[in-house]
Symmetry: C2
Subunit: 81 residues, 2 copies
Amino acid sequence: MVVVEVKIELKKGVADPEGMNTKKALNLLGWDVNDVKSGKLYEIDFGEDVTEEEALEEVELMCKRILSNPVIQTYQISIEG
Amino acid sequence: MVVVEVKIELKKGVADPEGMNTKKALNLLGWDVNDVKSGKLYEIDFGEDVTEEEALEEVELMCKRILSNPVIQTYQISIEG
């Protein structure tokens, strides 16, 4: 079974209110953290009939077309395992 | 700099409408994927004054207290690098 993991993060300099508020909450609870960044995760299951290379290529296209917004986001693709 | 990455996913059996709709959209665009799971990602930056072990322990507590909902979510913690 080929499962591809996609991590989507905001580019540097893009406002991240969720991360900012998570940091605030952690600080208020007494944890001394410098920064929190939030992001999204997708796990895409291709089943058995696809090689890892094909899956990675397809997910690259998916990220460009619909999974991420290239203006404000970056993505990282890896085989899960 | 110690940065800890937290992946938060829904437990098996918990409805994942975002993943389901992402799968639908990918299928409609012609990609033959079996399943898509959605999740959340946090990158927590502890700065220089903490060891990796301390950071991992603290993030474990954070996940239990506020970052995840143990009823419906699971979390995975790792040092980013």
